[in-house]
Symmetry: C2
Subunit: 278 residues, 2 copies
């Protein structure tokens, strides 16, 4: 292995999301491949992406890729279901950097675990409207039916901190009843905020339904991909090194507070970037 390859191993992983939701993916990466450096960007000035169009989400994602490239990242994780659904296919053609989105890993797991062939997907309007989960699952397993349901209130409820709350129960029951009636046996949590209300969703769906968390599956697939390309970092960064860096387009303090409720590691700082300049 040459020195260049050795260098690339130690390069950081770029992760981006429309805001804070992608931190559930970061959390999984930290758990599963703890030696890796991460540069995270959350587009808090333009959040949410889930109600925006394909063109807009692609333009925003392109700017973020340019920003992350300035950190010599070895790979990019699109930790946002909407950007994975709308922008990933376009932006990965535009650079040599390998990219992973959260949609394919979640789709693959769901196609594997379903027994009765009825899979539910919940997410933002954009993710559900794109039908991209359907498309990927159908490529892997043509014998399944996929039922999508947009749940636009889950993100604001999670961001308001109502992770365990009768209001969240009531809204979740309304959204999920039709999926229960259809008799799905697998439910994809197709938005990075949703793992934070996983226990509520699990209780309402019942024990017979397997919840698929794309954040977990994405970190697993990322590990495999890095291993396969001999890019896995084999040395833990030294203490005092800045292993995790967080950037946002707005409201760095609020981001830091929310991030610290998700990642127990303790995020020391988040810096603001004017992303429209990229």
């Amino acid at each position: 292995m040459n020195q260049n390859q050795e260098c690339r191993k130690h390069a950081p992983i770029g992760v981006f999301d429309s805001g804070v939701g992608g931190l559930t993916v970061v959390r999984e990466i930290m758990r599963q491949i703890p030696n890796e450096r991460i540069v995270y960007f959350g587009d808090t000035a333009r959040v949410p992406y889930g109600s925006k169009s394909k063109d807009t989400v692609t333009r925003y994602s392109r700017q973020i890729v340019r920003f992350l490239q300035s950190y010599q990242i070895k790979t990019i994780v699109v930790a946002c279901n909407t950007a994975s659904a709308y922008a990933l296919d376009d932006i990965e053609k535009e650079t040599d950097i390998p990219m992973i989105g959260v949609v394919k890993p979640g789709a693959r797991t769901a196609a594997e675990v379903t027994k009765n062939g009825r899979i539910g997907v919940i997410g933002t309007e954009a993710t559900i409207g794109s039908k991209l989960y359907n498309q990927y699952i159908k490529q892997l397993n043509t014998n399944v039916q996929i039922y999508g349901k947009a749940c636009p209130l889950f993100v604001p409820l999670v961001e308001e901190g109502l992770w365990q709350d009768p209001v969240t129960d009531e809204i979740a029951t309304r959204y999920l009843t039709e999926l229960i009636d259809i008799g799905i046996d697998t439910l994809i949590l197709g938005c990075t905020h949703y793992p934070l209300i996983r226990s509520t969703l699990g209780r309402i769906m019942g024990e017979a339904v397997t919840l698929v968390n794309p954040a977990y599956e994405t970190a697993r697939e990322l590990k495999d991909m890095l291993q396969c390309r001999e890019l896995l970092n084999d040395k833990r960064p030294a203490l005092g090194e800045n292993q995790y860096q967080f950037y946002v387009s707005d409201m760095a303090d609020k981001f830091k507070n929310f991030a610290n409720s998700i990642i127990k590691y303790g995020i020391l700082s988040a810096k603001t970037v004017n992303i429209e300049e990229y």
Copy 2:
């Protein structure tokens, strides 16, 4: 009166908001001064403003002002509480066009109608955090106490269409209980979405509390200002003329549907603009 002044009378009024909320202000302008032309811009690609910083909201507002100026507007109504609170003071210094925000008219009415001197203000985090309502009310009436309460879930609940719903009742009760306990007699609906859940808010606050709708007060003040400057349009635009024009930065179809639920007039079209280019 010269021809130039006569021309300016017939020029449109520019109105902008972070998204659809400003349509409650448009609705009041249509009712109170039905001869006026309106050019509306809703920043649906970057909505919401209420959780963003002063710098970001000011930068966005500046771009929108440049866009509206391309329509030779005679005045600008900042139909967004957050932009009125954060950006208006800066942007009105940068042009000769007279501007009106929604904060001052609401503040003035509240200062006039309170009897016990206890005024509540509800709005987004940004509006409440800015304390701008407090500042204006105190300038007019030093003998009052102002109690602000951020209600971040109201906007998503309104946009989800839950205008009359037990969940909205429950969330409103939680947000408003502390204002009821304080014994306020006046409540400012400090976000343009809130007039749409006015009946819920009124029921929870009780008959003794006066609700102040800044959208209504702003249209009234706009009429006075135009009258005073001899800029009120005295001729109704001819049938077939495009009296109302709507522009958004994203998702024009969704905007049109929501707009048609607020404005009974019937919005024929909304066009998409790339606002970052302004």
